[in-house]
Symmetry: C3
Subunit: 277 residues, 3 copies
């Protein structure tokens, strides 16, 4: 990692990894910290295949780069991320998507749940769907006071994802996870903090700075030790996480396989804006 | 489920299930929500065999009724429930009870821990013993500001019940569960909320209305999805819950089998009022 | 246990157990409660072999003494405990320690994780390292408003200890445990309470009195019942705790075995004061 290096996933990684086809993330390396910034503001940083690949590559590269001590995820523009790209998801449900499109999500989850170094997130504005559930794989979440999170699975008629059926109860407690998952209610920054989903809430506009300071502190410690600490923390739960994802993916496959419950049209109608905020 | 149907368990279920011998619950079905109201105010809604059966039947019926999307438990009168009927429990301990009396409690727990749909509770006033521990099987608890909970097991000299040795630490955290279980202290509404035992506390007198509104919101979502979400949330813990109940029931059996520790007389003296509030 | 008995571990146990070589703890038995007070204020109650043995003996004795219903841990002087004696730990890392020195820590942990009765702690001032992590084995922690806790493992470049990789996430939630373990940040009394690490925070100077009152309440209940309640609470987690300690101890052994990562000199430099407050 070159200190102070900056590149876009469109440019390819400076060490020679192939570029993704479209710009999706900005990556900046400095003082032992890799910043991965979702940068697709025209689609509220929604995750399509290119975004999944760009973030996954950013994580996998950081995992093996000895100069990276910690990683920060954030979103450019006004939101963290609106979650899965509903247009692409509807195409998947309808069988009209790029055959590779379905590979992006599980590959990102694999990278998140196996990420060996301290992982932080600086969250402002909307975190919807995956923009919420990915936080359960993040070690240290800092919230801008504008942050608000929602898991629209019940409303959309789909199963939970990303091991959230296990991890949201584990992170937030059963009652608050039920409210999030079964009632699809919005969670504001103060509620998320109180629920244990974040380490702190900061003034609007300061969340990236606050998160980077924490990430630099962690990166200043011996990387071998922080990796060991994280490895030992995760070890107790890894098998449960894998099992939860397997249950959720089976439920999703069953839903998609049944024409009566395939959410394709619902997803498409979600595009009209009802789910957005 | 007929929308707007109301009946008492004394009348039998409108679909023809046999009536229980005495009135114990009111059941109301409306807008996709089944309300099961404990209605034995003269005994502070204590659970005797007739109450166990009436509530269990209400749950089992709701589980298989496609028109029910969510269920709300509540108590009529001034309390949620004083828990197990100590007169009947003393008779059980003394060997003078109806031979069926011991079957009510485990059947209700089976129904609670296997209940496949979102389960809510509207709690006001006292929740004692089972009136507290059953809440750990409820997905969404809303508390009236008058609610207060107590697990009198340490004071009564009996083991914990209803998988509470597992679920109270899981729901409230170890420290607060220790305070509840080992010190038998009262927990007020604010403390229960802070501990993660409930999703919100509302003004006195509004808890049923607030809970029903939340239940209707959940019932408005596709039932298949909310059932899947709950099934996936519970799947990670079902075996542990079964194992915890087995350990607790073995401890209880050992206690009752030993004349030196059989709590029969203690239970009877608890009737004199000391345990009531 | 003689009511009101007081002795120092230097004097030997009144029932005839051999004294440890140096004074390390005060033990007082009264009204069903054993108080074990760390009393090495000249070293901020740091745990050396003599301290490990004195506290372990105090616990093992209480476990089998029918007149003890609950146990309280506290520290004399201005702190709870500064944790492991870094001088002794550096000697261990350097191979210059008493061959027995390494046996103190695991023996204390065995005693803590198997302690069969309600265990409380009255914590004021600094709880560093083991002074923090041991609290995850305590059922009821009461904090003086001056209490502050820190786990300096990341900063020292060592793995977590005392099953803290499992128990801090379980007790505090993932996010706060990550902050404690990965960022080595101080946690003050209010934060610890909010995180679920303690049952209450009390005014400076009143913590021992408040904890003893709670311990006496618990000790007034049938000891058989409180032991059963604790046994059932712990049963669900015992295997995970044992497994977590085994993982941590393997990580520690690997660290010490590798000259490049042996923390001996870092520990010695920690002595100069940087880690103390």
């Amino acid at each position: 990692m070159s200190t102070g290096a900056r590149w876009s996933a469109r440019d390819g990684h400076p060490d020679g990894a192939p570029p993704v086809s479209e710009h999706r993330v900005d990556i900046e390396d400095a003082e032992g910290v890799r910043l991965i910034a979702f940068d697709r503001p025209e689609a509220r940083n929604a995750f399509d295949l290119a975004m999944y690949r760009a973030v996954t590559d950013g994580l996998l590269g950081a995992a093996v780069d000895d100069s990276v001590g910690s990683v920060v995820l954030t979103g450019r523009g006004t939101v963290f991320t609106a979650g899965q790209d509903l247009r692409e998801m509807a195409a998947l449900a309808n069988g009209t998507a790029d055959p590779e499109a379905g590979t992006g999500f599980p590959a990102l989850l694999d990278a998140l749940q196996s990420f060996p170094k301290p992982l932080l997130a600086a969250v402002h504005g909307v975190g919807m769907g995956l923009g919420f559930t990915m936080l359960a794989h993040v070690d240290l979440v800092v919230l801008d006071e504008t942050a608000r999170l929602r898991a629209p699975f019940a409303e959309m008629g789909v199963p939970p994802e990303a091991a959230s059926s296990l991890l949201l109860p584990a992170r937030m407690g059963w009652q608050r996870a039920s409210l999030a998952l079964l009632a699809s209610e919005w969670i504001d920054a103060a509620q998320a903090l109180e629920a244990g989903l974040a380490v702190r809430v900061v003034e609007a506009g300061t969340v990236l700075e606050a998160t980077m300071a924490l990430a630099r502190r962690i990166a200043s410690f011996p990387t071998r030790a922080t990796q060991e600490i994280k490895r030992l923390m995760v070890a107790a739960h890894r098998e449960e996480i894998v099992a939860a994802r397997a249950r959720e993916e089976a439920a999703f496959a069953a839903l998609f396989a049944d024409p009566a419950t395939n959410p394709g049209s619902g997803l498409a109608s979600g595009l009209s804006g009802g789910l957005r905020d």
